[in-house]
Structures are given as structure tokens and as C-alpha cells.
């Protein structure tokens, strides 16, 4: 930031008082393009030039304000896209739904909301491969979006009665005589209650509490006579519990808020080190009081730790973050149907997570095949022809921001994509590569943009 030289001692880093206090720029930790880029990447899908400059001018505090509460009419944007999606057929394929969602992410005035919606999709990971209804998947995604930065308890309650979720976990006929234990186990795991907190008996009891809920012709129904109204024992409590009671009791367990905070930390702060409980304690304590997701996210995004080297480039970009990190800075919309397919080939098939535990991510995103795939996707996006046609044109974007001379344009791209934060010896070679490219200047700039986005540095968020 260039953070290479800057150090934050491990002791300071693990001091929760320092870690979660709002970051205030000073001489040692100045507000600069690298930190602005970091914020826009984590709280969204990367900024374009105007957003980077705006953030640089605004400073961290106002920039976070804007990300949490954009000035634009977000409700109107969401309404419009909801209507687009409503017009989709009820077919089994969700390619179109995928495409609309990706388009939202590219165009949304509230990228943080979409970023968190993707987060919850990876958490309550539900796949159309078993749901087999784009309509139910659409409603499921809508539910995630509505609560993405809202109240976690409401989100969990909604998830527990979501027809897509019940179909996905094979609990769409949860009868009194056959309570679905796999559903109970997975649901509790989503709530942060695993083998350490739960016995086999707890799981059986929870399965009984959820009986009576069935999915009939894609609608959720509660059938009283299929509900086991007997007394259940669960986490030391006893009563004729129903599903809603399970949600209430599970979320009151201390493991529940801890699990959320831990996962959101991994999403926004770092994938490389596992935070200790003391570090997270203040956040867990606050979150347990009101389950306010927005406030949790806000605390993290404003914090010293978030803007420290312990967080900077300590996450691997998911395929979506990689692709949108190319598309959004180049200020144009690309066809998102092929994009959805290409992202699936990189391991992130929206609407079809590998298992109910979502995408593990981190270094798992990266292997030789996925890196070659990223290289090829970048080439396709930037080539000026093929499935993405000539939507993205680095030379035009550079010119629109007053960078007409080739050397200026190259410097512009380095700042746009990497905030120019790349080791000097690597940057020198990159620039040399741009210089020697020759040929048509616009084409040569496409190649230079490609060279930037295939660098290891660009794979990190």
C-alpha cells in the first residue's frame, strides 16, 4: 500500500481494541490508491476509475458510508431487475437466472449488497441440480438478497422454510414417520452447530421438530397431522418444539454468532490466518445482541485490521471477483450468459454449489487448470471479438479519462487494475512488455491489459 514496507506487529494485530477501532489515516498508514482499491474490491467487485478517484478524495470513512448506503436509488434498481427475472420461464435451466445475477453485479449501484448475497449463497449453499426450478431458485436468491445486510435471525428463519432449501436437502416430505435427519444436521451446521455442539440425539430431536413441512407443487405447506407435536429435548431445553423454536434456540447458542463472525471475517478480511477467539470476541458479542449483519460488516470495513497488511491481498479472488475485476473497471456490460458458463468452468457455477457447504475458495480456487482458464477468459474478454465481442476496450476507457499517449495509457491501466501496487522489478518488466508489443496501439493496449490481469497479484483480492 505500498504495504510491503509497512509492518503491523502480530501483538497489535491480535489486540481487538486496536484491530476493530476505525482506521484513521496517518503518515505511517496514509489513505492512498492502494487502500481505496482494496476497499472497493472487498466491499464490491472492484472500482472503476471514477470510483477510485472518488474514494481517494472522500477518505475511508465517507467511502465506507457510500458503500453501505449508496446515494443512488437502489430500491428502484432492485425492482427493475426483479421484474426482469420474473419474466423468465419456469424452465429447469438456471442459465438465464445466472446471467441476470451477473448483470446485477456488473451494474448494481450497491455492489456490497450483491457481494453479501453471493456470500450467503455460498453459506446456505443450495443447488438447482436438485431443486430443478429456476423459479424457486429465483425466490431463494431474492430471500438472500433481502436479508443480505439485514437481520441474520430473520434470514435463518426464512431459510428454514424455503422450498428450494427443503428440495435441495431432500426434506420436501418431512413426515412425522420419517423425520429428515440429514436436513436437521445440515441446517444446524449452517447455524454454526456442528459435532462439537450437537449429539446424534439433538439432531434427531431437531428433525422431529421440523416435521410437518412439505413442498407441494413448489409451494411450502405445513400439514399439522404430519407434525410430531411431542416433547423434544434440544441443547438442554425441553418442550413441544417446532421449527421456529429450533431457530430461536440454535441462535441463542454461543457457537451461532461466532460462526457467522468467523465466516464474514474470512469473506472480508483474510483467508490466510485463522483469527483467535479473543480477536473476534467484541464482534461476536455485539452480533449476538441484535444479529445485525450490516453493522458487523460495517465494523469490519472501517477497521484498522481491514486496512492493514494482515488483510491486504490475503484473499484469493473467486472466479466472479476475477472476471468482474476486469469488467467493472472497463465500464461496459458484457454478455453474461457466456460469462456464467465460463465462470462455471473456473469452479464457480452460480446456483450450483458443489455441496451444501458452498465453495471452499481461498487457495482452492487456484490450480493449473483454473489459472489457464482465467488466462483464457481474460483473453476472451479483452480480445475485441468472440463471445464477448468488443464491449471492453481499454484504449477507449483510457482516452475517456484523458490518457491518450500509449505510455500514459499503460500507466493508467496499472493504476486501474493494480493501483500500481506491484513490486518494482515486476512492474518494470510488465511495462517493457507493453513497450515491445508494437502494432496497432489499441490492440497493444488490450494485450497489456491482459498481461496485467493474469499476474499473480491480480488473482488476489
Amino acid at each position: 500500500m505500498s504495504t510491503h514496507a509497512e509492518t503491523t506487529s502480530p501483538a497489535r494485530r491480535s489486540d481487538p481494541g486496536w484491530a476493530w477501532a476505525p482506521y484513521q489515516p496517518d503518515a505511517e498508514r496514509p489513505w492512498n490508491l492502494a487502500r481505496a482499491g482494496h476497499l472497493l474490491r472487498r466491499a464490491g467487485f472492484g472500482g472503476d476509475w471514477r470510483q477510485l478517484q472518488q474514494a481517494l478524495a472522500d477518505g475511508p470513512s465517507r467511502s465506507v458510508d457510500r458503500l453501505l448506503r449508496p446515494e443512488a436509488d437502489v430500491a428502484e434498481f432492485i425492482r427493475t431487475y426483479d421484474e426482469y427475472e420474473m419474466s423468465l420461464s419456469r424452465s429447469e435451466s438456471i442459465d438465464a437466472l445466472q446471467a441476470w445475477w451477473l448483470r446485477r453485479m456488473i451494474q448494481s449501484p450497491h455492489p456490497l449488497l450483491e457481494k453479501m448475497t453471493v456470500h450467503w449463497h455460498g453459506h446456505f449453499a443450495t443447488g438447482n441440480v436438485k431443486v430443478k426450478s429456476s423459479e424457486l431458485m429465483r425466490k431463494h436468491m431474492q430471500r438472500l438478497r433481502q436479508a443480505a445486510l439485514g437481520n441474520y435471525a430473520e434470514l435463518v428463519a426464512g431459510i428454514s422454510h424455503d422450498p428450494a432449501v427443503l428440495l435441495w436437502l431432500g426434506a420436501d416430505e418431512n413426515r412425522k414417520s420419517r423425520p429428515s435427519e440429514p436436513y436437521a444436521r445440515q441446517f444446524l451446521q449452517w447455524c454454526g452447530l456442528g459435532d462439537e455442539e450437537m449429539s446424534q440425539r439433538d439432531i434427531r430431536e431437531v428433525a422431529r421438530a421440523f416435521t410437518g413441512w412439505v413442498v407441494l407443487r413448489n409451494e411450502i405447506r405445513f400439514i399439522e397431522r404430519e407434525h410430531d407435536a411431542g416433547v423434544k429435548q434440544f441443547l438442554g431445553r425441553q418442550g413441544p418444539f417446532r421449527g421456529d423454536d429450533v431457530v430461536r434456540i440454535a441462535l441463542a447458542h454461543q457457537a451461532a454468532p461466532r460462526a457467522v463472525v468467523r465466516k464474514v471475517y474470512r469473506w472480508f478480511v483474510s483467508e490466510t490466518d485463522e483469527p483467535g477467539d479473543p480477536l473476534l470476541a467484541p464482534l461476536v458479542e455485539a452480533f449476538a445482541k441484535d444479529y445485525d449483519i450490516g453493522r458487523l460488516v460495517e465494523t469490519m470495513l472501517r477497521s484498522n485490521l481491514f486496512f492493514s497488511p494482515a488483510a491486504y491481498r490475503r484473499r484469493v479472488k473467486s472466479p466472479i471477483e476475477f472476471a468482474l475485476g476486469i469488467i467493472r473497471p472497463l465500464e461496459k456490460l458484457v454478455p453474461t450468459v457466456p460469462l456464467g458458463g465460463d465462470l462455471a468452468e473456473l469452479g464457480q457455477d452460480l446456483g450450483n454449489p458443489p455441496t451444501a457447504n458452498g465453495w471452499e475458495g481461498g487457495p482452492y480456487w487456484i490450480n493449473q487448470a483454473t489459472l489457464l482458464g482465467r488466462d483464457r477468459l481474460a483473453a476472451a474478454l479483452l480480445s475485441g471479438s468472440g463471445p464477448y465481442a468488443d464491449a471492453l476496450d481499454p484504449a477507449t476507457v483510457a482516452r475517456n479519462h484523458g490518457k491518450t499517449d500509449p505510455a500514459q495509457a499503460r500507466q493508467f491501466l496499472l493504476e486501474l487494475f493494480l493501483q500500481n501496487d506491484i513490486a518494482g522489478h515486476v512492474r518494470d518488466r510488465l511495462i517493457k512488455l507493453g513497450d515491445t508489443a508494437g502494432g496497432d496501439p489499441a490492440q497493444s493496449l488490450r494485450r497489456f491489459a491482459h498481461a496485467i490481469v493474469v499476474q499473480p497479484e491480480f488473482q488476489l483480492a
Binding site: P354, N357, E360, H450
Partner: protein, 418 residues
């Protein structure tokens, strides 16, 4: 701690002991170390799983022609003795499977007879799910047996691809891993770099490759991991291109299935480190092997494809002295009924043989000879649980821990040369 793990941590972290670093070890490295991830070495063994979709009729593949019950049960679809390719005095391969017969005679094939599992499922989807998850009792299992093995074998040291599905369809459930994204290879082009706009010649690409070789300063282990994997990817991409460009002299029959095997042979030759491949034969609708009516012609054609393509694959690998590194195994969701069904076809049965091909097999028939009169729902009873075959492939061939992948211990079979 094994030598490999210590070396791994040293190379990854630049430190001589694990303990001194324990609190600071990045999570993913620690997890990897704990899982005892195998370091990739050149010349690793390779497993190719061939799915015969639809339920292959084992009795008309390897025919027990001396068994009276065979002739009696199949008045119209029994294969005449004089057209079979006999092995020993009891069995003969299907008339179109001369190549299988040859592989068998050369000692490159083992046939495990009567493979199945308790309570065999007669429904295509459910039976195939059981074979893919290897957890027949758990109908909600979301990961595959090979996928779980891949998760455990994942190494953050090099980032090579461990498993791959080859062909047009979606990735088989068997390869579904919780953590590692497993991809489908539709064409070898996916392993090649596509020159970006207006790149004439190779100069640009060479520069990119050189850039990936430049070490990054700082202490970011993620960055270092990505850079090393990137550098390895470029190198392997070159190797694949070189192999694909080479005139290999391999002579594959004109089937799409054969082309998929050719692609696998090329990746094996390029030594990209992939350990497990899945490829499918007969994968339309319920599957081409699902012959309820007029079985003969269709089954003949599929078995010919299987036999000829696999023989070409073996010849290709042998020519490059790679057969010793490769083991192929077929599987299908179930065998078929012993009795034909009145429509010159057969219905869903139970146990069936698995055909294994490779350079380090003991060869021959393995397991009990199937009894054609003591049946289960009209199909053969199983003698060997399919998970024992998987355990053999995992433990003895790939060197993975089968218990981690299968969730319990299954006794491996004695199929491989020491």
C-alpha cells in the same frame, strides 16, 4: 511427521521446524500438512475410470458359454460359442471384443467377477448415484468417492490438477469434491493458451512466462502459491502443446470415445500430474447400455467401441513406455437379468464384472464364478463389494488413503503386481 510433510513445510515456509512456526502457519497450509498431502512426483500412477452408462450386460460381455443356464435363459440373444473369443474353457469375450481378448492373453487385463453391493438398486439414477458416492445407504450424499480422495490429496505446494472429467457432459458426481473444483475437459485446447489479440508469434507469451518466474518479495504465502502455480501451468501448457503437435503414430478408431482416450494419453504423456480421469461411454438418456429390447446390435456396437478404443489407448501408452503407470477400470450401475425379457433384451439386474486394464496387473479372472441359477431379482448375486475394488484402486494403485475417501475400511483385492 513424514519426511515429505516436513520438506513441504520447509519449502513452503522457508523454516526448518514446524513447531517454531505453529501459531503463524496459514490455515490452508496447516490443513494441507495435516491431511498428509502427497507430494507430486514425476511418474505418478494414473487411474482412468470408464463409466458404461445404462447398466452393462456382463453376461454378454464375458460369456459363460459352458453354463447351460446361460443358453437356456437367453434363447434369442445368447452369443454362439463359435464366435466367442475364448479364454480358458469356460468363458469367452463377446465377438466384437477381439482386442479385449488380446489384452487379456497378454496379461494386461484383470476381470473382477460378480461385483455389486447389498440391496442393489434397480433404478438407474439411484444405482449410479450409489456407484458414484460409494455411500449406498446415504441418499443425500453430495460428494463422490474420487472427489473426496482429491480433497485429501490436494497439495498447496504445486497446485496441479488431481482429477478431471473428459468429455462433453457435466462433471460426474464421483468427482464432486467439497473443496477442490474439479473441471470437465471438453478439448485439449483448454490446456493451451490462447494468444490474446493480435499476438503474432510467441514473443508475448514468452515474456509472460518469464514474468511468472520472477519471485515476488514479501511474506505473502498466497501470492507465492499463485505465482508458482502459474509458472507450472505455463510450463505444462507448453508440454501439452508439444505432445499434441507430435506425430505420435497412435492409431485410434474413429469413435468420439476413442478421441477422449487419446486426449487422456496426451495428458499422461505431458505428465501434468493428473491422477484420476473419468470418461463415459454410452451416455445418452438413461445410457446406451440400457438395452431392454433388441439388445444385440446396439450392445455389439458399444462393446466394439470400448474394446477397440481401449486397445488403441494401451498401444499408444505402450509405445511411450507409459502403460506401467496407467490403470483403467470400467464400471456400470448394475448388470442385467440373466433371462432375456421377451423383447430380445434384458432388464435391470444386479452384479456384473468390472474390467481392469493396465501394465501392472496380475491378470486373469478374479473372484467367484457367478452362479446363474441363484439369483437376486433375476440378476446375479454379488460376491465382491464394489468398494473393495475402489479401495484397491485408491490404496494400492494411487497411494491415497481409501478409508478417508470411502469413510470406512474395505479390504483391497490382490490385483496388482508387487
Amino acid at each position: 511427521m513424514s519426511q515429505t510433510r516436513r520438506q513441504f513445510l520447509q519449502s513452503a515456509l522457508g523454516t526448518s521446524t514446524l513447531l517454531s512456526l505453529a501459531p503463524g502457519i496459514p490455515l490452508f497450509l496447516e490443513r494441507t500438512a495435516r491431511a498428509g498431502a502427497a507430494k507430486r512426483t514425476d511418474g505418478d500412477t494414473v487411474l482412468v475410470m470408464i463409466e458404461l452408462s445404462g447398466g452393462n450386460d456382463g453376461l454378454n460381455t464375458l460369456v459363460p458359454y459352458t453354463d447351460d443356464a446361460y443358453a437356456r435363459s437367453r434363447p434369442t440373444i445368447r452369443l454362439p460359442e463359435n464366435r466367442l473369443h475364448k479364454i480358458g474353457s469356460d468363458f469367452g469375450f463377446h465377438p466384437q471384443m477381439q482386442a479385449f481378448h488380446r489384452l487379456y492373453q497378454e496379461g494386461h487385463m484383470s476381470v473382477v467377477q460378480g461385483v455389486g453391493y447389498p440391496n442393489t438398486n434397480g433404478n438407474h439414477f439411484e444405482a449410479m448415484r450409489d456407484w458414484h458416492t460409494a455411500h449406498p445407504a446415504d441418499t443425500t450424499c453430495q460428494t463422490g468417492w474420487a472427489g473426496r480422495a482429491i480433497d485429501h490429496a490436494y497439495s498447496a505446494e504445486r497446485g496441479n490438477v488431481i482429477g478431471l472429467s473428459v468429455g462433453p457432459g457435466s462433471r460426474p458426481l464421483a468427482l464432486n469434491a467439497e473443496k477442490v473444483p474439479v473441471l470437465s475437459l471438453r478439448s485439449l485446447d483448454q490446456w493451451k493458451l490462447q494468444p490474446p489479440a493480435g499476438d503474432k508469434g510467441d514473443a508475448y507469451r514468452k515474456q509472460l512466462e518469464q514474468l511468472a518466474e520472477v519471485p515476488r518479495s514479501g511474506d505473502n504465502t498466497l501470492l507465492d502459491y499463485v505465482r508458482r502455480t502459474c509458472s507450472g501451468a505455463y510450463a505444462d501448457s507448453r508440454k501439452v502443446e508439444a505432445v499434441a503437435a507430435e506425430a505420435s503414430g497412435a492409431n485410434y478408431p474413429p469413435f468420439q470415445f476413442a478421441e477422449r482416450l487419446r486426449a487422456i494419453a496426451q495428458l499422461v504423456r505431458a505428465d501434468c500430474g493428473v491422477r484420476i480421469y473419468f470418461v463415459e461411454l454410452g451416455g445418452d438418456g438413461f445410457g446406451g447400455f440400457d438395452n431392454h429390447a433388441n439388445q444385440i446390435g446396439n450392445h455389439d456396437a458399444l462393446l466394439e467401441q470400448l474394446s477397440e478404443s481401449l486397445a488403441a489407448f494401451v498401444a499408444d501408452l505402450s509405445r511411450h513406455n507409459l502403460l506401467d503407470r496407467v490403470l483403467v477400470s470400467t464400471f456400470s450401475e448394475f448388470g442385467r437379468t440373466v433371462k432375456e425379457n421377451g423383447r430380445r433384451g434384458t432388464d435391470h439386474g444386479a452384479a456384473a464384472p468390472m474390467f481392469l486394464v493396465g501394465g501392472r496387473l496380475k491378470g486373469g479372472l478374479v473372484g467367484e464364478r457367478p452362479n446363474l441359477t441363484d439369483l437376486q431379482n433375476g440378476g446375479l448375486k454379488f460376491h465382491t463389494d464394489f468398494r473393495r475394488v475402489y479401495a484397491t484402486l485408491l490404496d494400492r494403485w494411487l497411494g491415497f488413503d481409501s478409508e478417508l475417501a470411502l469413510g470406512q475400511r474395505f479390504e483391497p483385492l490382490d490385483l496388482l503386481e508387487g
